[in-house]
């Protein structure tokens, strides 16, 4: 049992922390978000140069062979800075599929581009009717000649607007909610028959509704075995849950500390409001929610590094329940304690609150993961 970081891990943590501190304050973030893509391509190149885009990939694939702990350290800082660059869709999701199940040719064509920063991606998995069920798919991929034809509607594809290629889940056989018969495809964003409706999400990210109308792909677009993708999807989504959960922990830390600071400055009734016991106890509650979330973050990351099994899945769902609950509480109370100022776009507090609210929903909310957690009992 050891909770200390290796030297490499400490270096990684410091490097992201420094970036957030020096290059990503709230004003800079605002400017970045005003750019056409909703993020900064220059920053993205810097991420590539700093090696962050290579972290989870094996050394053979040109990466650093990082695991869940490395992902945790990076995402926690991304959460502290509310970084909007598409690390999650490109590196964690699309990269997660390629590194686990991509063929040599697919890695050559796509993974190297992810690592050097030249290619962005997104994972199109959700559908309008499917809610959080990863197997509820009406998008079909029908064999045709030497390849497949994809048709369907993929919903809220995070990072969709800037993606150069998509990873798409589609049904090659079976009924709408069958576990079997699900396959994954690499689809170029410019493919004929693919159209998008792009829009911002509440937390300042970009997403798309992706319509596939008889999109033809070759046999080489299939990732892994045909019809057997669900366990792989679940595994990559669990990585993504760890990632956004760590972001939430980073965001909660910023929020509870910012609220404490604000309560020391803001004077009402002739004294700083932080002197009022009812507010002190509320802030202690925020602090405790943050610490408990952080504890389960460590547990989830360590379990994932031990191997992907039921214990890891259970730890991931438990962590997601905790950050869902705690994130809402800390976010809402931060707004409450900042009073009217907390309601404004001008202060960062509300932006963290929005991100935390979004994270609760992403990849399954508290109710969903409480049920999943229980399914391992």
């Amino acid at each position: 049992m050891d909770f200390s970081l290796s030297d490499e891990q400490s270096l990684l943590k410091d490097s992201v922390e420094r970036f957030v501190q020096n290059d990503y304050d709230f004003d800079k973030r605002r400017k970045v978000m005003a750019e056409e893509d909703g993020f900064s391509r220059k920053n993205w190149q810097q991420f590539a140069e700093l090696g962050w885009l290579a972290i989870p990939f094996s050394e053979e694939d040109g990466g650093f062979g990082g695991g869940a702990i490395e992902l945790m350290l990076l995402m926690e800082q991304i959460g502290r800075g509310l970084i909007v660059e598409p690390y999650l869709p490109t590196v964690v999701l699309a990269g997660g599929f390629l590194r686990r199940a991509g063929s040599a040719a697919q890695k050559e064509q796509y993974l190297s581009g992810i690592i050097d920063g030249s290619k962005l991606s997104a994972f199109a998995f959700a559908e309008p009717q499917g809610r959080f069920n990863l197997a509820d798919l009406t998008t079909t991929a029908k064999a045709k000649g030497d390849g497949y034809v994809l048709s369907g509607h993929k919903a809220v594809v995070l990072g969709g607007p800037s993606a150069d290629f998509l990873v798409v889940s589609a049904r090659t056989s079976g009924d709408q909610r069958d576990a079997d018969g699900i396959s994954l495809f690499l689809v170029d964003a410019g493919a004929k028959g693919l159209s998008r409706r792009d829009y911002p999400t509440v937390d300042g990210l970009r997403a798309s509704e992706v319509m596939l109308e008889n999109v033809e792909v070759g046999k080489d677009a299939l990732i892994g075995a045909e019809g057997k993708a669900l366990p792989l999807i679940e595994e990559v989504i669990d990585d993504a849950i760890l990632a956004v959960g760590c972001e939430a922990v980073g965001a909660m830390e910023v929020l509870y500390k910012a609220t404490v600071e604000y309560s020391k400055q803001r004077v009402q009734f002739g004294q700083p409001i932080g002197k009022f016991q009812v507010l002190q106890h509320r802030m202690v509650d925020m602090f405790m929610e943050y610490e408990q979330s952080k504890s389960l973050m460590f547990m989830a990351a360590m379990r994932l590094d031990e191997g992907y099994n039921d214990a890891a899945k259970k730890a991931i769902s438990g962590f997601k329940v905790q950050v869902g609950k705690s994130g809402r509480f800390v976010g809402q109370q931060a707004v409450q304690l900042h009073g009217g100022m907390g309601m404004t776009e001008e202060l960062s507090v509300g932006h963290y609150f929005k991100r935390l609210t979004m994270i609760d929903t992403l990849f399954g909310n508290v109710d969903f993961h409480l049920k999943r957690y229980g399914s391992f009992d």
């Binding site: 909770f3 200390s4 202690v284 602090f287 504890s295």
Partner: protein, 401 residues
């Protein structure tokens, strides 16, 4: 970062399990599990005595003490394993007042003679202690205590009233905070005295708690004469010692292992409890409540491990240690409350000892201890510094407010 126990820790764990299986076997655990606890009585059951003797023989009675007084020099991980395994097997513990609360004060600030006289008896549980802290006018505001100790030659003459004194009716001795000075801040002028409960002038009045348990008392002290040799440390410095005691052993305070045992047992009982032709465990609403608590418990267990790992690396516990008492007690109360739900109507039966002795418990055999645990458990967020006081402390010490 990893959660795996090292090979030497696993070996230690096996050793501990063997010890427990030998000296506190499953039959004994099972027999004692459903026994209600109404009256703390002097002396212990023979199986408890045997276990404590075995602990002493093995040198494991007081792992946290310094080695020269019988401590084990275990690493924090080994201590953690010990706590976890003994809680899982529901082993008896040494009375906390002597072994966990007084002893650290004695071996840190006591005189050589006090150490020689008291520590071995505490270790062997041959001297039972109670704690004279709270008073009718000094609860959360403990430093407002008013019991006076006035020096008269080689003795202090003590007058006042202590309250909520757990086990005063069975204790041989009491460690007691008394006022010896009235100058300066109220925290100054408090002294730490050891009082023999057989000294003339002491009257112990029982207070019966919810659930029918007699464990706490009111203790009246009228012209009680205490030798000056029974003063611990310096006169008027008792507050410092009492506070120093509070920073000891923060990790055990969360009661994680006990709550884990309770949670696991509740699941078993729910599986055996019929509802609408199925079992209570089939009820998704019920299961969700259990799992929500289980996640809280896992978070708390990890928080405890984080603290442990900091201590293991020679550091001081971080700010997260401060939440262990609050969350640990909130959680055990939530579990105790849910446990009552499990028993449905039988959760309402009042645990009357005479009736049980004559005719056996009513309803489920666990039902009785569940209600008692729930009622008595309400005290956990009150004693040891109420949870509201704990929040005041965190607010000041951690958040800087």
């Amino acid at each position: 970062m990893d959660l795996k126990l090292r090979e030497e820790d696993l070996a230690f764990q096996r050793e501990v399990r063997e010890f427990i299986d030998r000296h506190w076997p499953e039959e004994v655990r099972k027999a004692r599990r459903n026994v209600g606890r109404f009256e703390e009585t002097k002396g212990e059951a023979p199986e408890v005595r045997r276990f404590i003797d075995a602990l002493n023989e093995r040198g494991w009675a007081v792992p946290n003490w310094p080695a020269e007084w019988g401590g084990t020099d275990w690493t924090p991980t080994e201590k953690y394993i010990w706590d976890k395994e003994t809680a899982r097997a529901e082993c008896p513990q040494l009375s906390a007042f002597g072994a966990r609360m007084l002893a650290p004060v004695l071996y840190t600030w006591g005189t050589a003679q006090q150490k020689e006289r008291f520590l071995p008896l505490i270790r062997e549980q041959k001297m039972i202690w109670c704690q004279g802290y709270s008073e009718p006018g000094a609860g959360s505001d403990l430093a407002a205590l008013a019991t006076r100790a006035v020096r008269d030659g080689d003795e202090f003459v003590v007058n006042g009233t202590k309250i909520w004194t757990t086990g005063a009716h069975v204790a041989d001795w009491m460690f007691c905070l008394v006022r010896t000075g009235t100058e300066g801040k109220k925290q100054e002028g408090i002294s730490f005295l050891l009082i023999d409960m057989t000294t003339p002038g002491i009257t112990v009045n029982p207070i019966h708690l919810l659930g029918g348990i007699h464990s706490v008392n009111e203790v009246e002290l009228a012209d009680v004469r205490v030798p000056v040799a029974n003063l611990v440390g310096e006169e008027n410095k008792g507050w410092t010692y009492a506070k120093g005691l509070l920073t000891h052993e923060r990790t055990g305070i969360a009661g994680v292992a006990r709550s884990e045992v309770m949670l696991a047992r509740m699941k078993d009982i729910a599986r055996e409890t019929g509802v609408d032709g199925g079992s209570l465990w089939d009820d998704a609403e019920f299961r969700r409540k259990v799992h929500a608590l289980e996640i809280d418990l896992e978070a708390l267990a990890m928080t405890e491990l984080r603290v442990l790992s900091q201590v293991e690396q020679g550091g001081a516990p971080g700010p997260e240690s401060s939440i262990l008492k609050i969350r640990g007690t909130e959680l055990s109360q939530a579990l105790q409350t849910l446990q009552i739900d499990v028993f449905g109507y039988y959760g309402l039966a009042y645990p009357d000892q005479t009736l049980i002795d004559n005719e056996g418990p009513v309803g489920h055999p666990y039902g009785l201890t569940a209600m008692q645990a729930m009622l008595y458990g309400r005290a956990s967020t009150i004693f040891g510094g109420s949870n509201e006081i704990q929040k005041n402390i965190i607010s000041k010490a951690v958040l800087g407010l």
